[in-house]
Symmetry: C2
Subunit: 349 residues, 2 copies
């Protein structure tokens, strides 16, 4: 009998559930194990949502029907989406918000139309600054009176990147309803809040977008009591997860596999190091890379545990931009972008 | 669209998964939301497991077939089973073992034959001291060479208690395979390790049983480095869970329901108190009791949160034996019986 993992429920209204990331080994996370992160209730979809609208700073609005999208140039990318709040539960002092542990990340194959192609079709004026993306989901934010849709922008340069796509397929099937059917913006290398689900409207603007999911949430606030030195959440930090062994496991003496995944938003992961002496010395883990440049890297190290006792396993990833997971996390008031050295304690008996 | 919670996966070999206890409100936990706690792989069941064997200190072994059991005197009880390691993750200093949070507890309706009836049928000698219960599951314990079955004993007095039953139904259906089909011993008021699943053999003995699940595991060891003052895990402590609000939630000013469940292994829960000022003053929660004496108690308190700021919600249950949840947990090396005051932090914005 095969035992199956489940999503870990963080909240149900709106639905926020973690992927059982420690128990998955595939490059492609199946739909049902993809983490769910929502700001609002799921939208009620109608046939109008099969039309993607582009308006704003262009001569006239354009509408692309799903069927038309299927006939346009296509691109497939294997990449992880990671919630900016992934690992928030690990911050000390604790921060408020969804207490994500390690599973607010999942990876799969996204297929769709490069956004630059659509933007070229519609044309846009030279003073364009940003592109705004609106989902079909909407609701009230805490202590606000008005209903607002989920809306985020990208700077023009990122929007025009050839790998920024409007996905209509995930793992070779139509997008799952809970993950943005029929259209999801996919922004490689950025935290997941940029990859707008149930994408319905694209607006071309000549100024900076100031929506609350851009200027209030998804901002690093380094200070507890004021907003000084704040800046927006964008690119994924270099990061890793120890999938096995699990925290506070008791193991026999002998050979154990320490394994996991690692990823970054700048370049590629170049090294994974493992320490068994609180960071004094580090050993190189073996890397297993995908051909897909954005995909996470799998890694493992065989550990010959000869001596009984308690051990802390530390793991840190390095990327091709010279970034490395720090020993201490960058604490920020809303708890985004946690990427301190990954740690698991075990006891050898 | 209704969003559904899932079990929380702690490990898969053997399978250990928590109930999504914060998201359940029924008196009866459905099968699929019942926590799963295993010491070994699931047993392969054959027709021989439909026979319950009673042997040992009696004139001759007796076998009861499931069909015969169905014709014997029947008793139904609504009661929770709680893993002795429930809430282990909350101990500081941390302890090794499965990192259960609040969900290693579930409640349902158990139906079966009182054990004393079977023991009376078989007869047993006057020098009987304990009754040993053996499940069909077996395997190796860490750092042991031999395969052993899961086996636990009860003192004769507890075994003869009229509410100690051999259950063959859960929530009016045949026991689920993962929860002990065809027979599960149900020991009211004791931690779940006593309620042996896939019960296959009952042995009547005239001495103290010394199996490792009785004398090594499921023992309170108050000291980190020696076994002094240790004693066995038996009766449930008085305990509670705050189901809502969830930890580190941000709430509006206004009225919020603080709600949860509470239970005990001695008598009944008589009071639930809630403090919003770190235990200086306590308010009485409203109790909702079941007619079933062993069932958990539901409770709630309406909280008018007028002032913005950060709050710790403390909850403590009291039982009819004068026991109360302590502010500090009783730390023990294997992390059993955690029942310190339940706490949830929230922020009012």
């Amino acid at each position: 009998m095969e035992n199956k993992p489940f999503l870990t429920t963080r909240s149900l209204q709106p639905e926020n559930q973690e992927s059982p990331i420690h128990f998955l080994s595939s490059w492609l996370t199946p739909d049902k194990y993809f983490y769910r992160r929502n700001h609002f209730s799921y939208p009620v979809l109608t046939s109008k949502h099969l039309w993607l609208q582009i308006n704003g700073n262009i001569s006239q609005p354009r509408f692309f029907h799903l069927y038309e999208m299927l006939s346009l140039p296509v691109k497939s990318l294997i990449l992880p989406l990671e919630c900016a709040g992934n690992k928030r539960a690990h911050f000390h002092p604790k921060v408020y918000g969804e207490q994500w542990e390690d599973g607010a990340i999942s990876q799969g194959k996204w297929t769709g139309v490069p956004l630059f192609y659509l933007l070229e079709q519609t044309g846009f004026s030279k003073n364009t600054k940003e592109i705004v993306f609106e989902g079909a989901d909407f609701g009230r934010k805490p202590n606000k009176d008005n209903m607002i849709p989920y809306r985020r922008s990208l700077p023009l340069e990122k929007a025009l990147h050839p790998d920024t796509i409007i996905a209509y397929q995930y793992n070779n099937k139509s997008l799952d309803y809970k993950h943005g059917y029929p259209f999801r913006l996919i922004v490689p290398n950025w935290y997941g809040m940029a990859s707008v689900k149930w994408l319905n409207k694209i607006e071309i603007i000549d100024h900076s977008f100031e929506g609350p999911f851009q200027t209030e949430d998804y901002v690093y606030y380094p200070h507890k009591n004021d907003d000084q030195e704040s800046y927006p959440v964008t690119t994924l930090h270099v990061n890793s997860i120890i999938q096995q062994p699990l925290p506070f496991t008791v193991l026999n003496t002998g050979i154990h596999e320490i394994k996991g995944i690692a990823w970054t938003g700048k370049g590629v992961v170049t090294e994974i190091e493992v320490s068994l002496n609180n960071g004094d010395t580090w050993k190189q883990a073996v890397l297993e890379r995908s051909n897909d440049p954005y995909a996470w890297t799998k890694w493992f190290l065989l550990w010959h545990a000869e001596k009984k006792g308690e051990y802390s396993i530390y793991v840190r990833a390095k990327d091709s931009h010279g970034r490395v997971q720090p020993l201490q996390p960058f604490w920020n008031r809303m708890g985004y972008g946690y990427n301190a050295v990954s740690k698991v304690n075990v006891k050898i008996e």
